[in-house]
């Protein structure tokens, strides 16, 4: 279950009092203030909001790519906000699968080799790695494109390979930053179909930033950033509607 | 329609690190090229300045260097009366000379150098009017006196004006310094020929060479024919200037080949560097190039523009290289001339011609480094480039 009031206990992802400040052009911007979040295994959360509201910043913090000014983030019992840069790197490899909007794949490697990348960091043997990669590519439906290079794949296929890479080491959760932003409607739908399969059939936990209301609708819950903290979509709309009435 | 040059200048400024790298590569290569050429030129010029067109050198037939020659006093007397020999009030202007090698320490390293000692006759100065006594006086016949060239005291130790030197079982006094106009003689030590023969226990009245001053440069052939026709003589006759030209060929050739080889390989490297720079320039600016093409500039203009850019970089590199080596001009060094087996002091001699060659060399590197990338720039398919792919 997803909560934003800081009242959750024993949730998979637990965020308390998250603060993030940074300076731009001499000014200090307080992009996240006192943010709370609880996410459980198998939840599919969408984050929406205007540009600059801090969605990507939140995602980066949750993925251990950035450190907060204050507050704590705990994932499966690990307090990642107190980890060193090196420890965070190791933690990420194990626990997070990333899907960005673009630049995901290394152009000089085949689809197979791209998906294999996270596994190279482990001590798995070559044949074990092959098994995992083939499985992941099978889940995303690209078994017949394993030896293709990114330039030989369509935009949608590239994102599917990315998703395969994101799930190949069986991470604790997936972080997606506008994964369908660069795709046409049809490909976007296919990707979302795949994500829902991962959530429903494989019980994956997915946190996704998106601009697209059609995409957000598919999630269990949509959250907005309002004055630096998270607010449930329905409640915000209700409050506005209530105010207008 | 030509693409404005200001576009090239601005692009160079924008990616100045890559451009600078190419400039430095070409500058270094040009510098080494000009330096090597000026070293060879300095050596050759020093040797060539030693000979004049209106003097003839006579040596034993088959001798390839003065050191290996041997002529008798009788030969000298016969030569003196041949047609074409100039005369003054005292008689024929002919000098018979002996040549020796003696070790003196190099000022620069302290180890010994083979210094050429020349035993001369009183007429030596008359035969070589370009020589002037600048300090002290000329030697007196029959005494153990030395007069040295202007480079001697700076290059070899213990031979400055007024010093006493011990060799060949005698004590010699340095009584004068002469200026030989930047020729090989400036590295020589002169003494009286007969005194020198005695000191070195060589047979009396045997000399290494005879130099005769001719009535005019045009009379050389007359003189040579007369000498070669004479059955009593087995000698080789050559213009003095030709003799020195031949004696310089070995070293000059070696410096030129070595220096040329080095410069050639460096040029290859500089061209690779320039190619790298220009290819990445083309890659970075593919969208701009496509825009220019779409706007209406033809393929030829693109090729010309990029080649021009490469040439600008090359020109900058060439100029920088020439300026950087300019301080070397006149820098003195010395070396053993393997042909004469004696040490010779000479200097880097940078002439405007050599610098011009350097600039041409740099521009050549620029063209080779620029043309291929320029052609590839013109061949870029326009539409995909505009789409940013």
């Amino acid at each position: 279950m997803v909560r934003v009031d800081g009242s959750g206990t024993s949730s998979l992802i637990q965020v308390r009092g998250l603060d993030k400040k940074y300076s731009r052009g001499g000014e200090e911007i307080h992009v996240l203030q006192g943010l709370n979040l609880d996410v459980d295994q198998g939840d599919f959360v969408a984050f929406m909001g205007p540009s600059g509201s801090g969605k990507t910043t939140l995602l980066n913090l949750l993925g251990g790519l950035d450190v907060p000014t204050a507050g704590s983030i705990t994932v499966a019992g690990d307090a990642i906000t107190s980890m060193s840069r090196g420890a965070l790197t190791t933690w990420r490899a194990r626990h997070v699968g990333f899907v960005f909007q673009m630049y995901n794949l290394i152009p000089v490697l085949t689809a197979f080799q791209n998906v294999e990348l996270p596994l190279l960091l482990t001590s798995l043997s070559k044949s074990e790695r092959r098994k995992h990669v083939e499985t992941a590519l099978g889940v995303v439906g690209l078994s017949d494109r394993m030896q293709h290079f990114p330039r030989q794949l369509s935009g949608g296929q590239e994102q599917r390979v990315t998703i395969a890479r994101a799930i190949v080491s069986d991470p604790t959760f997936l972080l997606c930053d506008e994964p369908t932003g660069d795709l046409d409607r049809k490909s976007a739908d296919e990707i979302m179909q795949l994500v829902l399969t991962l959530v429903k059939d494989y019980k994956k936990t997915v946190l996704m930033v998106t601009h697209d209301p059609v995409v957000a609708e598919k999630a269990d819950i949509t959250l907005h950033l309002d004055k630096g903290a998270l607010v449930e979509s329905g409640k915000l709309a209700g409050a506005m509607a209530g105010g207008a009435r | 329609m030509a693409i404005p040059v200001v576009y090239n200048l601005r692009s160079i400024r924008q990616r100045w690190q890559s451009a600078l790298v190419a400039v430095l590569g070409i500058a270094g290569t040009t510098g080494v090229f000009v330096a090597m050429l000026s070293l060879a030129h300095g050596f050759k010029a020093t040797m060539m300045a030693s000979g004049s067109a209106d003097n003839a050198m006579i040596m034993r037939a088959g001798a390839d260097a003065e050191l290996n020659g041997a002529v008798t006093l009788d030969t000298v007397r016969i030569i003196q009366d041949e047609p074409g020999v100039a005369r003054d009030a005292q008689g024929p202007l002919v000098t018979a000379e002996t040549v020796m090698i003696a070790p003196f320490p190099l000022v620069s390293t302290g180890t010994d150098a083979n210094v050429q000692i020349r035993g001369v006759s009183p007429k030596a100065l008359l035969i070589r009017p370009q020589l002037k006594i600048t300090q002290g006086r000329f030697i007196n016949s029959g005494l153990t006196e030395l007069v040295v060239g202007r480079n001697v005291s700076g290059t070899y130790g213990g031979l400055s004006l007024g010093s006493e030197v011990k060799f060949g079982g005698a004590i010699w006094h340095v009584v004068g310094v002469f200026d030989a106009g930047g020729s090989a003689f400036d590295s020589e030590v002169w003494a009286d020929a007969n005194v020198l023969n005695q000191a070195f226990k060589r047979p009396e009245n045997i000399f290494q060479s005879i130099t005769a001053h001719l009535t005019s440069a045009g009379d050389f052939q007359k003189f040579k024919d007369a000498v070669t026709a004479d059955p009593k003589l087995t000698v080789d006759v050559d213009r003095e200037i030709n003799y020195y030209n031949k004696q310089s060929q070995g070293m000059t050739g070696m410096i030129t080949v070595l220096g040329g080889g080095v410069a050639f390989i460096m040029a290859l490297g500089a061209i690779f560097g320039a190619l790298n720079t220009m290819y990445s320039a083309v890659a970075e600016r593919s969208r701009e190039i496509a825009t220019l093409r779409a706007v209406g500039f033809g393929a030829g203009s693109v090729v010309f523009s990029f080649t021009l850019e490469a040439l600008l970089i090359a020109l900058a590199g060439g100029l920088l290289g020439c300026i950087a080596v300019l301080p070397l001009n006149g820098y003195a060094t010395s070396s053993l001339n393997l042909q004469t087996f004696s040490n010779l002091a000479f200097a880097f001699t940078i002439t405007p011609f050599l610098m011009g060659l350097g600039i041409v060399f740099a521009l050549l590197m620029g063209i080779i480094g620029g043309i291929l990338p320029a052609v590839s720039a013109a061949r870029l398919p326009v539409a995909p480039a505009l789409r940013g792919m």
Binding site: L117 | G25, G62, N276, L336
Partner: protein, 382 residues
């Protein structure tokens, strides 16, 4: 190595750039090898000079002879093991450009003083018995196609006339300089020339029992003949060779300067190339780090790339230098000006080290940049 695929895929990303950077290393190390060979050629003789050998020349001038009568007196000095005498011939074989050193040697004592020359015993015996015999170095044999049994005509320069020799043997020495010489019998020389050469020799070379005694023995020899009509100057063979080499001016310094310029430029070119290459891949580096590749691992990837290019291009260049120098040697050492020219093993090793050093240096800054890159910065839409 499991990361090899990623490394090589990245190396071959832009084939033209890879080729050009490899070529830059190639030319720089080619030049290095060539210059190192030239530098040693000018110092030829220094490396092969025996530590237990002394050279006795006429003090007044190197080209003046010394009396033969000195030989017995030198032999009797305590600490002197063997003595031999030689004379420089300096003739021309067909063309002055074909210059090579020719010596008249005393057959009885020559090999005692110069034991390093290897020659088949039967060939040596033929030579000893043949008045007009000659031994040529293996390098000369290769250069001019000499074979045992050939006739060798030499045009005299210091001593006129045409001299005919029979090639009785081919010898090998420690290096190329020793293999480009020719020897013939001193007795033949003396007999054909006559005159003053009957009781004079060019110089003496002697071997001492104990190299530490060299200084003392040299002094004893020179003292013995001082104030005579032919004073001597004795020095170790090595000192003699070094003195000779030093007359070629600052060849060493020149070579060092040119070499430094070359390497500096190489560093700039390759450093720039690496920097551009890494900069292009900023988003990919960011993604790797997001996926869990550590900062140090990314640093090593870049350094490894740089090193592979450096070593591959550099070694190819060094090998080419060896080949090029071999061609120069066979073509006659630039008219005989450079007696021995070859690239030694230690110079090759030094070259590889230099290539590695430049590879490390040129990769360092881009590698550090990649290491320090923050994922969030790298993924920012450019």
């Amino acid at each position: 190595m499991k990361y090899a695929r990623l490394l090589f895929a990245n190396l071959f990303r832009k084939k033209i750039r890879l080729t050009l950077t490899l070529a830059s290393f190639f030319t720089a190390l080619l030049l290095f090898g060539g210059l190192a060979a030239v530098k040693s050629a000018f110092n030829a003789g220094v490396d092969v000079a025996g530590v237990d050998r002394l050279v006795v020349i006429n003090r007044v001038s190197l080209i003046q002879p010394v009396p033969i009568s000195y030989e017995d007196r030198i032999k009797q000095i305590k600490g002197v093991k063997y003595v031999t005498h030689q004379n420089w011939f300096g003739g021309i074989y067909k063309d002055p450009k074909n210059f090579f050193p020719q010596f008249a040697v005393e057959v009885g004592s020559f090999r005692q003083v110069f034991p390093e020359f290897k020659i088949p015993e039967d060939q040596w015996q033929t030579f000893v018995k043949d008045r007009q015999g000659a031994i040529v170095g293996a390098g000369l044999a290769k250069r001019f196609g000499f074979k045992v049994g050939d006739r060798l005509p030499i045009q005299g320069t210091i001593l006129p006339g045409t001299w005919e020799f029979n090639i009785d043997g081919i010898c090998t020495g420690k290096d190329a300089s020793q293999e480009s010489q020719m020897w013939f019998q001193y007795d033949y020389f003396k007999e054909k020339v006559g005159g003053s050469y009957k009781d004079m020799v060019g110089w003496y070379t002697l071997r001492v029992d104990n190299p530490d005694e060299s200084g003392r023995i040299a002094k004893v020899i020179d003292d013995q003949f001082s104030n005579s009509s032919y004073e001597t100057k004795t020095s170790t063979e090595k000192a003699f060779a070094i003195g000779f080499a030093k007359q070629f001016g600052n060849i060493g310094a020149l070579v060092l300067i040119v070499g430094s310029v070359v390497f500096f430029i190489l560093l700039l070119v390759t450093g720039n190339s690496m920097a551009v290459s890494v900069r292009e891949r900023t988003p990919e580096v960011a993604v790797l780090k997001a996926v869990g590749y550590s900062d140090t691992l990314v640093l090593w990837f870049v350094m490894a790339e740089s090193l592979i290019i450096a070593v591959a291009g550099g070694m190819a260049g060094l090998l080419a230098a060896v080949g090029l120098i071999k061609i120069v040697a066979i073509m006659g050492n630039l008219g005989g000006m450079l007696p021995s020219i070859s690239v030694s093993g230690s110079q090759l090793a030094l070259g590889v080290c230099a290539a590695v050093a430049v590879g490390l240096a040129s990769g360092l800054l881009p590698a550090l940049g990649a290491m320090r890159l923050r994922v969030v910065d790298g993924l920012r839409r450019v």
